[in-house]
């Protein structure tokens, strides 16, 4: 298809006095792995709900496959696998019956449904859950069943809201591998998560939401380029190092690691800064450029919000 798989256009949603989304605009290109980032209450889940037709926008529009999501033909969602805010399993049914239910809703019948459910049970090691009703499974087990359901039918679009919630490290690694495979197969993935490291491994595009607004959005490489370069400087004493950098007009902040400062300066400025530090009697043991990651992009976007 031409155009974005999922999009928001000046999308606003109010819940009574609470403004969950405030003219949010973004586009998820086809084939992207799109990381949706933001603090709690930033509007990520509401945006996904609007884009999937669960919630009617107060203003603006949300599009799914180019069609306005609220009025979209339900058949469009045949190409979507989604988890939004929790597994959403039928509590009284075991894992296999829940998967059969999803297969039926996808229009699978007979041998096709049996094969798809069987493959999901095997690939996700869910057979051992047996006949235990979903409500008696652990949080992580329910999440794994829900993820298996989301992947049923090899959807073109995967929308996963906090998919790693409750998962153990091996299950997280397994999910990462499945998402990579789905991406290689041409699927578009929207990943809303607080685990920046996980999103960073996969994301080709990202958006940062805060206060219901999109603070930064685009290809991850472009976002990296738009973030101020920083140097990691380990100096002793650190307090003196901070004074020297401040005197040189370079903002620096503690990294959280003992004796390490993060200075807002490009790599080319490193020799001059080191010379100044040494002249001032600071013992410099490490200077390295900081590779701008999603965390830095995230922090910078939130800082812009604070400044605004």
């Amino acid at each position: 298809m031409d155009g974005p798989v999922l999009a928001a256009e000046r999308l606003s949603k109010r819940f009574g006095p609470v403004r969950a989304l405030d003219e949010a605009t973004l586009e998820v290109p086809e084939g992207a792995v799109f990381g949706l980032l933001g603090p709690n209450g930033s509007g990520k889940t509401t945006l996904l709900r609007c884009a999937l037709g669960l919630v009617r926008p107060t203003a603006g529009r949300a599009f799914l496959f180019g069609t306005e999501a609220w009025d979209a033909d339900p058949g469009l969602r045949r190409a979507v696998g989604a988890i939004v805010e929790g597994p959403g399993l039928v509590g009284g049914l075991p894992a296999e019956a829940n998967l059969r239910r999803h297969a039926a809703l996808l229009g699978m019948r007979g041998a096709e449904a049996v094969a798809a459910v069987s493959a999901a049970l095997d690939s996700d090691d869910l057979r051992r859950l047996g006949a235990t009703p979903a409500r008696r499974l652990s949080r992580g087990e329910r999440q794994r069943v829900a993820l298996a359901a989301a992947f049923l039918g090899s959807p073109r679009l995967l929308v996963l809201d906090e998919p790693t919630e409750g998962l153990d490290p091996l299950a997280i690694a397994g999910l990462r591998a499945r998402l990579e495979a789905a991406h290689r197969g041409g699927a578009t993935v929207v990943l809303s998560s607080h685990l920046l490291s996980e999103v960073e491994r996969l994301a080709t595009h990202a958006a940062v939401l805060a206060g219901g607004r999109v603070r930064a959005a685009g290809a991850v490489e472009a976002l990296r380029g738009a973030t101020a370069p920083r140097l990691r400087i380990r100096g002793n004493p650190a307090a003196r190092a901070a004074e020297v950098l401040a005197a040189a007009g370079v903002p620096a902040a503690p990294s959280g690691e003992d004796g390490v400062l993060l200075a807002e300066a490009p790599p080319e400025a490193a020799p001059a800064l080191v010379a100044a530090l040494v002249r001032a009697g600071v013992e410099v043991s490490e200077v390295a450029p900081v590779r701008t990651g999603l965390e830095e992009i995230y922090r910078a976007a939130l800082a812009r919000r604070e400044a605004a």
Binding site: L54, V55, P74, R77, P87, G88, L89, G92, L105, G107
Partner: protein, 281 residues
């Protein structure tokens, strides 16, 4: 992958909803309760007629007496089942998960309404079976005779064949108020995300209406033309009429039209509410 039916996902949803309804413990318990209430009502009717010096003695009367309490219990269970239909799915998140699939909101409500209708029919039949068993065992389903101090007086007033036809009509129509109660519960359920809140709201709405009807407050017939109380009332008259000689007094039209209109209006209201509301839970 393509839709395999000309009706979209509706047959699939209907199948899923019927299976889910069949698995509900409340339905299983309700079937037993409705049958028990029907049987108890019939037994009470038999006992009352035994003490009379001039009774109409027959299993048909016991069946009619039993249908009243049986349908009341069946209606209450149906109301609770209906109130859980959407709200309990919402509270466990499966409503959201279902609507993230190619399932339309209207189709989902239609499937739930149909599954509830099936449950309502089963509950009403359970009440009728309970009442009929006790009536049949206690007094038999022979010709209706008038007894005086235990002895027949005059010729039979109604033949068994005629009464059987009437009883069949009563039993056939009796699911209507129960289904209406279930659909009213569904309409209430469409507003809620929590099963407990929905059940409370359904009971809160139904109990005062029923009480007012029972207390026969003047004008209540006019004020409460639609709620389940009116439906139960209409059926009580219908059932009573089958046991006595004058069938023509039975409010047949009201018995069919009132619950029929109620269930259709309630199901449509449920659809209208769910189509417009946000799915947040």
């Amino acid at each position: 992958m393509s839709l395999s039916t000309p009706f979209g996902s509706r047959p699939v949803l209907l199948g899923l909803e019927c299976r889910a309804m069949g698995a509900r413990r409340l339905l299983r318990a309700g079937l037993l309760l409705a049958a028990a209430a029907g049987a108890a009502g019939a037994a009470k009717g038999l006992a009352a007629s035994a003490g009379e010096t001039f009774p109409v003695r027959n299993g048909f009367r016991a069946l009619a007496e039993g249908l009243g309490p049986g349908l009341l219990v069946a209606g209450l269970v149906a109301l609770l089942l209906g109130s859980q239909a959407i709200a309990s799915d919402a509270s466990e998140g499966s409503l959201r998960a279902t609507l993230l699939r190619p399932a339309g909101r209207g189709g989902l409500v239609a499937a739930k309404a149909a599954a509830l209708a099936g449950a309502g029919v089963a509950l009403a039949l359970a009440a009728a079976v309970g009442a009929a068993l006790v009536g049949g065992i206690g007094a038999g389903f022979g010709d209706v005779v008038v007894l005086y101090e235990g002895s027949p007086v005059g010729p039979p007033k109604q033949t068994a064949a005629l009464m059987l036809g009437r009883a069949a009509l009563v039993v056939a129509l009796s699911p209507l108020p129960v289904v209406a109660a279930a659909e009213l519960g569904l309409a209430v359920s469409a507003f809620f995300d929590h099963a407990g809140s929905a059940a409370s709201a359904a009971l809160f709405l139904a109990v005062p209406v029923t009480l007012v009807s029972w207390l026969a407050v003047p004008g209540s017939d006019l004020l409460f033309v639609n709620p389940p109380a009116r439906v139960v009332d209409a059926f009580r008259s219908l059932a009573a009429a089958s046991a006595t000689a004058d069938w023509r007094q039975a409010p047949l039209a009201a018995a069919a039209l009132v619950p029929g209109t109620t269930l259709l209006a309630a199901a449509l209201a449920a659809g209208a509410v769910l189509r417009r509301r946000d799915i947040l839970a």
